[in-house]
C-alpha cells in the first residue's frame, strides 16, 4: 500500500464520527483491533486459537473492575487490562504451543472455558448481569471522555472516539510493525514450514509464544477499550461465540492480510447490527454468507482484492 492510501484511510477514520454513529464506530474499531490481534496468530504464525475471547473478555473485566472500584483513569485501566491479557496469554500460550493443529485449538478452547466459568462465578464479575456501570472517567485525569459536542445538530462523544481511534491506530501500528519486522519474517517461516524453520536454528517454540503473547495482549487491549466504551463487561465478551466470531471476521476479510481483519470485523459487526430485526435468524444469514465467501473468495474480501491488484494489502 502506498502512502496516499494510508492517509486516505486515516482521514476516513478521523472523519467517521461525523458520518456514522460514533458508538457504533467505536464498536467496529474494538472488534477490528481484536481481529487484527487474532490474525497475527492465525494469518502470520499459522496458529488457530479458539479461545481468544478469554483475553478479550478477561481484560474487559479487569479494566472494568479497576476503573470502577480502584478509581483508575481509563488509560491506566486499559493498560492493566492489556497487561493482564498478556500474562494470561503467556500462561495459555505456554501450555497450548506444546501441541499442534486441532489439539492446539482445543487446549485454547478449554482454557478459555475456564476463564468463562470464572467470569460467571467470581463475585466481582456480576455473573449473568455482567460488570455494569463502568465509568468512562477522565483521560489522564483531565480529558472528560463523557463529554459530548454539538456538531451539525448532533451530539457527538468525540473525546472518547478519538481516544479509541488513537488506541486502534496504536494497535494497528504494532501489528504492522510486527509483521514487517525480521521477527515477523520468522513467524511467516514457521507458518510455511515449521520443521525447516527449526532446522535453520530458530527456537520455534519461543517465537510462537512471543507471537501468542503479543496477540493476546492486543486482544485484551480491544476488550479493555470496549468495556470503557460500553461501560459494561459481560459474559458475551468471554463466551466461545466471541472466539468463533473473531475467526469468522478474520476469514471473511482475508487471513494473512493486514487490512483483511479490519474489513471482516466491519462486515460482521455491521451485518449483526443491520440485521438485528430478524432475531435468531441472524446466525443463519451470517453462516450462509460465510459459506458463500469460503466458496467464492477463498482468500477473503481483502485477499481477493489484493490478488486482483497484485499487491499485498
Amino acid at each position: 500500500m502506498n502512502r496516499l492510501a494510508w492517509i486516505l484511510l486515516l482521514a476516513a477514520g478521523l472523519a467517521a464520527p461525523f458520518a456514522v454513529y460514533p458508538v457504533f464506530m467505536m464498536k467496529l474499531l474494538c472488534f477490528a483491533l481484536f481481529a487484527l490481534a487474532f490474525n497475527l496468530l492465525l494469518g502470520y504464525t499459522g496458529l488457530l486459537s479458539f479461545g481468544h475471547a478469554a483475553f478479550f473478555g478477561g481484560a474487559a473485566y479487569v479494566t472494568g473492575h479497576l476503573v470502577k472500584h480502584a478509581g483508575l483513569t481509563p488509560e491506566l485501566g486499559i493498560l492493566s487490562g492489556t497487561l493482564f491479557a498478556a500474562a494470561l496469554g503467556w500462561v495459555v500460550g505456554s501450555l497450548a504451543i506444546r501441541r499442534q493443529g486441532i489439539y492446539f485449538a482445543m487446549v485454547t478452547l478449554a482454557l478459555a472455558q475456564i476463564v468463562y466459568f470464572l467470569a460467571l462465578k467470581l463475585p466481582f464479575t456480576g455473573g449473568e448481569d455482567g460488570l455494569q456501570g463502568i465509568p468512562r472517567g477522565f483521560l489522564f485525569g483531565v480529558i472528560d471522555l463523557q463529554r459530548h459536542y454539538a456538531v451539525a445538530g448532533k451530539s457527538l462523544g468525540l473525546n472518547l472516539y478519538y481516544f479509541v481511534f488513537a488506541l486502534f491506530c496504536l494497535g494497528f501500528w504494532i501489528v504492522h510493525r510486527t509483521i514487517h519486522s525480521p521477527f515477523g519474517q520468522v513467524l511467516k517461516a514457521i507458518r510455511e514450514n515449521e520443521a525447516r524453520a527449526l532446522s535453520l536454528g530458530y527456537r520455534v517454540e519461543r517465537f510462537k509464544l512471543i507471537a501468542f503473547v503479543i496477540s493476546s495482549a492486543l486482544a485484551g487491549m480491544a476488550g479493555a477499550t470496549k468495556s470503557i466504551v460500553f461501560q459494561l463487561a459481560s459474559l458475551t465478551d468471554v463466551s466461545w461465540h466471541t472466539s468463533g466470531e473473531v475467526v469468522l471476521m478474520t476469514l471473511l476479510g482475508g487471513v494473512g492480510t493486514v487490512l483483511g481483519p479490519v474489513a471482516g470485523a466491519f462486515t460482521v459487526v455491521t451485518l449483526q447490527s443491520e440485521l438485528s430485526f430478524v432475531g435468531p435468524w441472524i446466525t443463519v444469514i451470517i453462516g450462509g454468507i460465510f459459506v458463500v465467501c469460503v466458496l467464492v473468495f477463498r482468500r477473503g474480501f481483502v485477499g481477493e482484492l489484493g490478488r486482483i491488484l497484485k499487491r499485498a494489502l
Binding site: 502512502r3 494510508w6 492517509i7 486515516l10 478521523l14 454513529y21 458508538v23 457504533f24 464498536k27 460467571l120 456480576g126 455473573g127 449473568e128 448481569d129 455482567g130 455494569q132 456501570g133 463529554r147 459530548h148 459536542y149 454539538a150 456538531v151 448532533k154 451530539s155 468525540l158 473525546n159 478519538y162 488513537a166 491506530c169 501500528w173 504492522h176 510493525r177 460500553f230 461501560q231 459494561l232 459481560s234 459474559l235 458475551t236 465478551d237 438485528s276 430485526f277 432475531g279 435468531p280
Partner: protein
C-alpha cells in the same frame, strides 16, 4: 510510518482544539416527536410473557391516547434485548443518542434492566421497567428517571412466602436462576419464610435458560424439604415444573411453588399439571370488567391474553403520555415529577402511586391455578385467592436504600 504518526497526532490535536469551541448542547424541550422504545425479549426464554405482545400493548396505548400528545406524534420502536445486558445497553444507547427515544419500557431481564436504567439515569431519559423483577432497581440502582411498574421480588416473595408458610410449608429448598433476579427472589422469599417461622434448608443455582433440570430437581428431592421454591421465570419455570412431574415430585408430600409465574406459563403447562399451584401476580385478565375489556381487545390482536408485563406496559405508556400532557412538556424532569405526584388509576392498577424510589405501588393478588373441572374456557386459568394492598405487599419506603429517598 513515523511521518504518518506525526501527522496523526497533529491532526488529532487540531481536531480536539477545534471541537473545544463548540459548547455541549442543551436538550431541546421536544424534538418534534415523542418516541417510546420497547426493549424486550423477542426470541428467548421470556418471549412468550413479554416479547411482541408488549409492543402490541404499547401500540394499543398510543392508539387509545389518540396517536399524538401536545400536537406532536407518538411513535414506537421495538428491539430484542436477547436477555444480554451488553445488547440491551448498546441498543438503548443507540436509541437515546440517535433515534430520539424519550422513554424505554419492557426490559424482561434484570441484567438488561439494570444496564438500561443506569444509562437512562446518565442520559436523563425515562425508563419504565415492566418486566424485570429485582428489588435492586428501586434500591441501590434507582435513578430519578426510573419507574419499576408491575411487580418485584419483594412483593412476590412476601405474598407467596407468607401464604405458603401459613399453609404449613415450613421447610424450603430453592432452585434459583443464577443471576441478580433469581438471587434477589430467593433472598426476599427466604426472609419472609423465616419471619413466618419456617426455614430454608438449601438451594441450588442454575444458569439462565436451562433445558435439563434433572440434577437440580434430584438435589431438591433429596433435601427432604416440604417446599421446593422455584426462583426463576418463563421457560425455565415451565421446564422445571414439567420435569419435576417426571420425577414424581408433588406426590410424596413435597410441593412445588413457583415464585414468579405468568398466565402464559400456566397455559403452556396445562391445568392438569399446574392445578392448585399458588403464586403472586400484579394483574389477571379476568379480574373485573375493566381488565376483561382491555384483555379482549388485546386478544383480538395478539391471540393470547395479556400477562402482567404486557398489561403493565400498556398502563405505563398510557400514564407516561398522560404525564406529558399534564406537564405540557416531554422534559424528563417535569414528566417524572408529574408521574410521581399523580394517581395511577386504570384497569391495571386500582390504587397506584409512584414513590420517590421509582416503585409503582399497587395491589397484588395471590392467585391459584384452577382445577380442570373449574375452567370454563381456554384462558379461564386462575382464581384470585386474596388481594393484598400495595402498601402491605411492597417493601416499605423506609427500608429502601435508594439515595433519592429522604429520611
Amino acid at each position: 510510518m513515523k511521518k504518518l504518526l506525526a501527522r496523526t497526532s497533529a491532526s488529532l490535536v487540531a481536531l480536539a482544539a477545534a471541537s473545544a469551541f463548540s459548547a455541549p448542547p442543551k436538550e431541546a424541550v421536544t424534538d418534534g416527536v415523542v418516541k417510546i422504545g420497547v426493549l424486550t425479549d423477542m426470541s428467548g426464554v421470556y418471549s412468550a410473557l413479554g416479547g411482541k405482545g408488549t409492543q402490541v400493548a404499547v401500540e394499543m396505548a398510543i392508539k387509545d391516547f389518540g396517536g399524538s400528545v401536545l400536537g406532536k406524534p407518538i411513535q414506537v420502536v421495538g428491539a430484542d434485548h436477547q436477555n444480554k445486558a451488553d445488547i440491551a445497553s448498546a441498543k438503548a444507547r443507540e436509541w437515546f443518542d440517535t433515534e430520539k427515544v424519550d422513554m424505554i419500557t419492557g426490559l424482561l431481564n434484570t441484567g438488561c434492566a439494570l444496564a438500561v436504567q443506569k444509562l437512562g439515569g446518565d442520559k436523563k431519559r425515562v425508563v419504565m421497567v415492566t418486566g424485570a423483577a429485582s428489588t435492586d432497581l428501586t434500591n441501590s440502582a434507582c435513578t430519578p428517571y426510573s419507574v419499576h411498574y408491575v411487580y418485584d421480588t419483594y412483593a412476590l416473595g412476601k405474598v407467596t412466602g407468607q401464604a405458603v408458610v401459613q399453609g404449613g410449608g415450613k421447610n424450603w429448598f430453592f432452585i434459583t436462576a443464577d443471576y441478580a433476579f433469581g438471587q434477589s427472589l430467593e433472598a426476599n422469599t427466604t426472609k419472609f419464610v423465616v419471619k413466618g417461622g419456617g426455614k430454608a434448608v438449601g438451594s441450588v443455582r442454575h444458569p439462565l435458560s436451562t433445558a435439563d433440570f434433572s440434577s437440580y430437581l434430584l438435589q431438591a428431592q433429596n433435601s427432604g424439604a416440604q417446599i421446593i421454591g422455584l426462583a426463576n421465570a418463563g421457560a425455565d419455570t415451565i421446564n422445571a415444573i414439567k420435569q419435576a412431574r417426571e420425577f414424581g415430585i408433588g406426590q410424596k408430600g413435597q410441593k412445588l411453588v413457583g415464585l414468579l409465574i405468568f398466565d402464559t406459563d400456566i397455559k403452556a403447562l396445562g391445568l392438569n399439571v399446574a392445578q392448585g399451584m399458588q403464586f403472586t401476580s400484579g394483574f389477571y385478565w379476568d379480574r373485573d370488567n375493566g381488565t376483561r375489556e382491555f384483555s379482549k381487545r388485546f386478544f383480538a390482536i395478539h391471540k393470547a391474553m395479556p400477562t402482567m408485563d404486557q398489561a403493565g406496559a400498556y398502563s405505563a405508556t398510557m400514564n407516561y403520555l398522560k404525564a406529558i400532557k399534564a406537564a405540557g412538556t416531554d422534559d424528563p424532569d417535569a414528566v417524572m415529577a408529574k408521574l410521581k405526584s399523580m394517581n395511577i388509576a386504570d384497569f391495571f392498577a386500582v390504587n397506584g402511586k409512584i414513590r420517590a424510589d421509582g416503585r409503582m405501588v399497587h395491589d397484588m393478588y395471590l392467585m391459584e391455578v384452577k382445577k380442570p373441572a373449574e375452567s370454563k374456557g381456554e384462558w379461564d386459568l386462575l382464581k384470585i385467592v386474596k388481594t393484598v394492598p400495595g402498601d402491605e405487599a411492597y417493601q416499605p419506603l423506609s427500608e429502601s436504600t435508594c439515595p433519592l429517598v429522604k429520611k
